[in-house]
């Protein structure tokens, strides 16, 4: 001990094990960044090959109204409209019902009811999408055909897929909106009650505006989920890339097309193979923008109440 200064004794000892562990853990953290880079690079590379084909130009791709790879016609509009129609139908179910049940759970339900309903919703949110697809084809479609007539509703149709997609997204929208409503401080509700507001007035005029950003974020995440959903539309929406605005008709969506083309043994480097990557990239960018917007909005509301 003698001969050593106190400073040198207090100096941080080198711990090679600690450093190695730190590097390893850091690497684990960076793996996810590689995933994103991988997605952008691979999808971009194949999509680039797709756009280099003589019959494809970005303008044609975005504005063309015919999608027939066999004839060299690559206009994404038919796929895009059916994606938008199924999404619209789904959101028309999921938004009002999701928000309504979120308000009920957060503002009206007794703690015991809430304790039962919330985990139930969580479990149902975990039902695989292929099961919803089965439900759409074997229950929802026959029901719609019985209701509206076999002649008006096709065997595969966007309405059935959209409705079931709405049921699928409902627990997600409900759960996220409920979290946002629940995060509003109780003092706000008490103040409103104290002023003589009814329960409904408190919920809709005080709590809802305060939680609005969180609810909007939930809606956007719901839309993003609907656009990226594959199995329901692959099973129930049909496999013809027709440009139609009638939800009772069959039309293939972007994800449905990707699933159908890749389901068969598609040869590498054919126009079809490359085209699914172009669509995939498009899909990735749409959902990325939606997710970023949703995050931005919900980050704003956190600043206010936490």
């Amino acid at each position: 001990m003698q001969g050593k200064s106190i400073e040198s004794m207090l100096k941080k000892k080198p711990h090679p094990g600690e450093t190695i562990a730190y590097m390893l853990l850091r690497f684990c953290g960076i793996v996810s960044v590689f995933t994103t880079i991988g997605i952008i690079f691979e999808l971009g590379k194949e999509a680039l090959l797709f756009f280099q084909m003589p019959e494809v130009t970005p303008l044609n791709f975005l504005t063309g109204t015919t999608w027939q790879p066999a004839l060299g016609k690559f206009g994404i509009l038919p796929l895009l409209t059916s994606t938008l129609i199924t999404t619209l139908v789904a959101m028309m179910i999921a938004l009002p019902l999701g928000l309504g049940s979120a308000i009920y759970l957060s503002e009206y339900a007794s703690p015991n009811t809430r304790k039962v309903l919330k985990p139930t919703l969580e479990v149902l949110a975990g039902v695989p999408t292929v099961v919803y697809g089965y439900f759409a084809l074997t229950v929802m479609t026959p029901f719609l055909r019985w209701l509206l007539g076999n002649d008006t509703v096709q065997v595969y149709n966007m309405l059935s897929a959209g409705l079931v997609m709405g049921i699928m997204i409902l627990p997600l929208v409900c759960s996220m909106s409920e979290d946002a409503l629940h995060a509003v401080p109780h003092s706000l509700r008490n103040a409103a009650f104290g002023l003589g507001a009814t329960r409904f007035e408190t919920a809709v005029k005080v709590v809802l505006p305060a939680a609005l950003s969180g609810i909007v974020a939930a809606f956007i995440i719901g839309i993003s989920r609907a656009i990226g959903e594959t199995m329901i539309v692959a099973i129930a929406a049909g496999s013809s890339a027709d440009l139609t605005f009638n939800p009772l008709h069959a039309a293939e969506t972007m994800t449905g097309y990707i699933a159908r083309i890749s389901g068969g043994d598609v040869a590498y480097d054919t126009p079809e193979y490359n085209s699914i990557f172009a669509i995939g990239l498009f899909l990735f960018l749409i959902t990325l923008v939606l997710n970023l917007v949703s995050r931005k909005i919900s980050a704003k509301y956190r600043e206010v109440y936490e």
Binding site: C28, S32, T36, G38, Y104, P128, I258, F277
Partner: protein, 412 residues
């Protein structure tokens, strides 16, 4: 705030009080209604699957069992059963069966199973769902007597032991999910082995080490965004990278395995690993964040290093939470279908996977294939497979919830 509330209130007059209460009640009702509609539609979904998995089936036998022997098959001795088998199948077929599994070693149950499949060949000619089976029994019986007088009618549970034990086949009566179950099991195991250490490592890094640097902020935002990427995009990544670019590795060619393509268990598990990683990291981060800071400070105060603190105190404390999150992430992987279509789950293989480099099929893919077949009987089969899938997922979720509740009690 207060003024704002009162001024913007259209019902500020006291005379309107009953009207306001009426409106409040109506909305209360409609909020309750939307909750009920949600719950009801999800209940219908589950009930419709049960409805399609059970019910009467009209079954025609190619050979009547009474022609084979006077007494019922299950009362016969082993020797007698072997004799029946020998007399009724061709010599070559008998040899093939004997080569696969020596007939002398089979039990009576195996023999009856074999005789049923090889000789009697029961085929469902018409199947009914559970509801009509219960409420229109008379009509079903009449149909059977008028249209299929030779056939046998019986109440059938499409979900049965043979369905779980049999390999895949093109006949809905004898098909089973054994191949798919093994495929799912293999993929889930490898996925956990790949994703669990990296996911937990990333969560530890982000919660215990990461400063607020640019890189770390990028990592955090990136993980949040990855969690929202549609699963089919992961499938495309898997197809391009694991199946195609890394073909020689994922097909096992560099290890000397004789496999023609990269559409293997390994590719699927790597894809699934990337898919559940963000979910795993976010869940684990939450569990680690819940560890009280006092625990860490006490450990540092006793002179422990950072790694020792994490290993001996933070991780054990956070483990139940981490496990809950892992179970939830894994149950997501079990039900995932779209990415595996791209990575190339085979729609028809009847050999169960034997290792990392086998071709595979999984339960959700089978459900998808059966659902898209035109024959009505495949709907029943599909419903039975969905029941198996849901039972597995429900048990996993229950375990996760129980774990979480225990964890919450311990902390409280």
């Amino acid at each position: 705030m207060n003024n704002h509330l009162i001024e913007s209130d259209p019902f500020k007059n006291h005379e309107n009080l009953p009207e306001r209460h009426r409106i409040s009640k109506i909305w209360h009702g409609s909020f309750f209604l939307s909750t009920t509609i949600g719950i009801i539609s999800l209940t219908i979904l589950l009930l419709s699957i049960i409805n399609q998995a059970f019910g009467y089936a009209i079954i025609e036998n190619k050979v009547d069992p009474s022609e084979l022997s006077a007494v019922p098959l299950n009362e016969l001795s082993k020797e007698k059963l072997t004799q029946i088998l020998n007399e009724n199948v061709s010599k070559n077929r008998y040899k093939t069966i004997d080569r696969d599994t020596p007939i002398a070693k089979m039990t009576s149950g195996d023999l009856i199973h074999l005789i049923t499949n090889e000789i009697i060949e029961p085929t469902t000619v018409k199947s009914y769902f559970l509801l009509p089976s219960l409420f229109q029994t008379g009509q079903i019986m009449r149909t059977q007597q008028e249209e299929y007088p030779d056939a046998e009618i019986k109440f059938r549970s499409w979900l049965n032991w043979n369905f779980i034990r049999n390999s895949l086949s093109t006949n809905p009566d004898t098909t089973g999910i054994r191949t798919a179950l093994f495929g799912s099991l293999w993929i889930i195991l490898i996925t956990i082995i790949i994703a669990f250490p990296i996911g937990i490592g990333a969560a530890i890094y982000l919660e215990e080490y990461a400063s607020n640097s640019r890189l770390n902020r990028i990592i955090k935002t990136n993980i949040d965004n990855l969690a929202g990427v549609p699963s089919i995009v992961y499938g495309m990544l898997g197809l391009a990278v694991f199946v195609r670019s890394m073909n020689s590795f994922t097909s096992g060619a560099i290890f000397g395995v004789d496999q023609t393509n990269g559409r293997t268990i390994l590719s699927a598990a790597l894809t699934m690993g990337l898919l559940i990683m963000p979910l795993l990291i976010i869940n684990a981060q939450e569990a680690i964040r819940a560890v009280p800071a006092s625990l860490r400070q006490a450990s540092y105060g006793l002179g422990a290093t950072r790694l020792q603190t994490i290993w001996h105190h933070v991780l054990p404390f956070a483990m139940p939470g981490i496990l809950t999150g892992t179970i939830l992430a894994v149950s997501r992987a079990i039900g995932e279908t779209a990415p595996l279509i791209l990575v190339g789950a085979s729609s028809f293989i009847n050999k169960e996977p034997t290792g990392l480099f086998s071709n595979f099929t999984v339960l959700p893919i089978q459900i998808y294939n059966w659902t898209t077949r035109p024959q009505a009987e495949f709907r029943n089969v599909s419903a039975a497979a969905i029941l198996v899938l849901l039972i597995v997922l429900l048990s996993l979720n229950t375990i996760a919830i129980v774990l979480r509740n225990r964890f919450a009690k311990k902390q409280g």
